[in-house]
């Protein structure tokens, strides 16, 4: 994965760079918006990490300039983390938004998702999802494992749909919360964990091998 990191805080930038390189990804770090736009027009990247508060040209302006051009997906990484900031960022064309401080694992998972979605581009998700012997009929809202129907609540279905759409990839708890409940919802309790626990009971308890794995302190992966 070729990642362009646009971040003026040298310490954060260095840390992300080192971690990405350490995980086997190619990373270019740059400190201002103008230079980032120049670099994007010259080199190919799979995904961009964009800070909002930048010298010369801020993150939102960079997004505005990118609008309508062919460009890799952009994840905005910012200390501006109010719901309105997130909504503004996503409306301006960001593909994902992550508030600071952040876990590197969370960032990496999100970047991988973006890069993969970008790579697949138009590969339509289709009406059927299959992970091992777990089958989901999206249109009919039916789930079976080894032919045995599994009764799920709306939320469990939604969570499973997210996990199955990203089979084999880690999905963080925050991502599940954002996708199943929406941005702007901030539960005071571990809602996601509780629902995933219930979901696991339904899809894995009576079957072997278990499909839903917990990635410690990060999230979950299916398959």
């Amino acid at each position: 994965m070729r990642v362009l990191v646009v971040e003026d805080d040298a310490a954060v930038s260095y840390w992300i760079g080192a971690k990405l390189n350490g995980s086997g990804h190619a990373c270019r770090c740059i400190g201002d918006g103008e230079a980032a736009l120049r670099l994007l027009s010259q080199e190919a990247f799979d995904v961009v990490v964009l800070d909002r508060m930048l010298p010369t040209l801020d993150g939102m302006e960079v997004l505005k300039r990118l609008e309508g051009t062919r460009h890799p997906p952009v994840l905005v990484l910012s200390a501006l983390d109010e719901t309105s900031d997130r909504v503004a960022g996503l409306r301006a064309g960001a593909d994902d938004y992550l508030g600071k401080p952040f876990d590197f694992a969370e960032l990496l998972v999100r970047l991988e998702h973006l890069a993969r979605r970008h790579g697949q581009a138009m590969a339509a998700p289709g009406d059927w999802l299959t992970v091992g012997d777990l089958v989901m009929d999206v249109a009919e809202r039916r789930v079976t494992r080894r032919g045995v129907p599994i009764d799920l609540t709306d939320k469990e279905f939604k969570l499973l749909h997210i996990l199955m759409s990203n089979a084999g990839q880690t999905v963080t708890r925050t991502m599940l919360l954002e996708k199943a409940w929406g941005y702007g919802f901030n539960p005071q309790t571990n809602l996601v964990e509780v629902h995933v626990f219930k979901l696991r009971g339904k899809i894995d308890k009576d079957f072997d091998p278990p499909l839903l794995r917990t990635v410690r302190a990060i999230g979950y992966v299916l398959g």
Partner: protein
């Protein structure tokens, strides 16, 4: 017209009532009423004066007339006087003046016999003759009108009755109060019209200002009052309000940018701390130390969480959050919340149910209301759990749309209710119950943003937390 806060527009129902309640209308009407009373008193008084004047004048006339006749020797005896009057009749045609000469036996010697009876009756003389009338000035009213006369005794026992029919004069005077009355009615109608015109103008301008301010408080920060071309007190009030709103906006922006900067300044070192701990933990061979480090990482996460909650509260309290007010089904909203919290409720052995009319639609921002009710359910599970029951209801009470979370726990003492909505208030100060003490503050801010309030009521036993929204249409 009256301002309907729930709907955010003027209601036409109480239009006339509101118009009558305006100050300018009441002022106009008070001045009008005082004017009418004073005019009516003046008219009555002047009429009395005029009638008195006319009567005095006629009495004077009659007295002078009688004196002239007396000096001319007319009063010697009745037949001679009658003859003399007949001789002069062509010189003084009898119109308003009525004269009668009656001899001692009561026979009418001069004057129309037909008229005589009426005149005598009008003057109040009895049927037996003018003797009953006495002498001097007499006034009377009868079918012939109002007459005023003087009875003069003659030397031979007869009498001369000299009278004037003053009715035509009085009739002419009737026109005075009539004319004044018409004038007053015209004046009254004019002043009512002016009152209505100026009052509805006032109402319109005040309405525009009220509407603009309501829209501003509702979150439309760009809303200003249309000042209009007229340079009157409303225009200067509007300009002053607009200046105030500009200033409020500047302050809000300043506060927002300051809090943004604080967030940035604090989050950056927090990010560094988090990253360092994560790097050390990764490379740490000592299991015990690594667990400690992971605790530290978890702590930074909690700080971040708290930070987000504070920022969110600020965002909602200042109305800076993205908000979409729309009609939405109350029952599906509560059902989704129930579904979200059902696993947690089951874990705690709590029965979580929804009781809401499936047809009820309320106005609000879905995300914010979801957050608010979720916080209340969260609190109910934390403080009233342990085999209890929590009921989520939606309804209309006293015209207000309400969402309510009722539990059967230990509830809140009346003294605690006001404290409970304060920031960082914890019902359980020991810290064993997770949370930051911001949940209810956020609920209250959301209710306020919807034009309502958060009410904490006794559920006997337990707590009924009611999110009051706007007025139900």
């Amino acid at each position: 017209m009256s301002w309907d806060k729930g709907k955010g527009r003027w209601r036409a129902g109480g239009r006339i009532r509101t118009l009558l309640d305006t100050r300018s209308f009441r002022q106009t009407m008070t001045v009008g009423a005082v004017f009418v009373v004073v005019t009516a008193a003046a008219v009555l008084w002047s009429r009395t004066l005029l009638v008195g004047l006319v009567k005095d004048h006629v009495a004077d006339l009659l007295a002078r007339d009688s004196e002239t006749q007396r000096q001319m020797g007319d009063f010697t005896d009745a037949p001679a006087l009658a003859a003399e009057l007949r001789r002069r009749a062509h010189l003084e045609p009898e119109t308003a003046r009525k004269r009668l000469v009656i001899d001692g036996g009561g026979r009418v010697l001069y004057g129309e016999a037909g008229n005589a009876a009426r005149l005598l009756a009008a003057l109040g003389c009895g049927p037996s003759g003018p003797q009953d009338c006495g002498t001097g000035r007499i006034d009377g009213r009868g079918e012939g009108g109002t007459v005023q006369g003087l009875v003069v005794p003659l030397a031979d026992g007869g009498r001369l009755i000299n009278a004037y029919d003053i009715q035509p004069m009085l009739n002419q005077m009737q026109a005075v109060p009539l004319a004044v009355g018409i004038g007053v009615v015209v004046f009254l109608l004019t002043s009512v019209s002016f009152g209505v015109y100026f009052s509805s103008g006032t109402l319109r301008r005040v309405g525009a200002i009220t509407e603009a301010l309501a829209s501003y408080t509702g979150g439309d920060r760009s809303r200003r009052i249309a000042v209009g071309p007229a340079d009157d007190e409303f225009a200067s009030l509007g300009r002053e309000i607009n200046r105030t709103l500009d200033r409020v906006n500047r302050l809000v922006e300043e506060v927002s940018s300051v809090s943004g900067s604080i967030a940035h300044e604090l989050r950056t070192p927090l990010t560094h701390l988090h990253n360092r701990l994560a790097t050390i933990a990764e490379n740490c061979a000592d299991d015990h130390l690594r667990r400690e480090l992971e605790e530290g990482i978890e702590e930074t996460r909690r700080i971040q969480h708290l930070f987000r909650a504070i920022m969110r509260l600020g965002e909602i309290e200042t109305g800076r959050c993205a908000m979409t007010m729309e009609p939405l089904g109350a029952a599906p909203l509560l059902e989704e919340i129930r579904e979200s919290y059902l696993p947690l409720a089951e874990e705690g052995g709590v029965v979580l149910t929804v009781a809401a009319d499936p047809a009820l639609r309320i106005r609000g921002d879905r995300t914010l209301l979801f957050q608010a009710v979720a916080n209340l359910v969260d609190n109910a599970l934390k403080y009233a759990g342990g085999g209890g029951a929590i009921v989520l209801t939606a309804g209309v009470r006293d015209g207000w749309e309400e969402l309510c979370v009722a539990d059967r726990g230990r509830g809140l003492a009346p003294g605690q209710r006001a404290l409970a909505v304060q920031r960082f208030f914890r019902l359980d100060p020991s810290g064993t119950v997770p949370g930051y003490g911001l949940g209810l503050s956020i609920v209250r801010a959301i209710a306020t943003l919807h034009g309502g309030a958060l009410l904490l009521e006794d559920n006997g036993p337990g707590l009924r937390a009611v999110i009051r929204l706007g007025r139900h249409p």
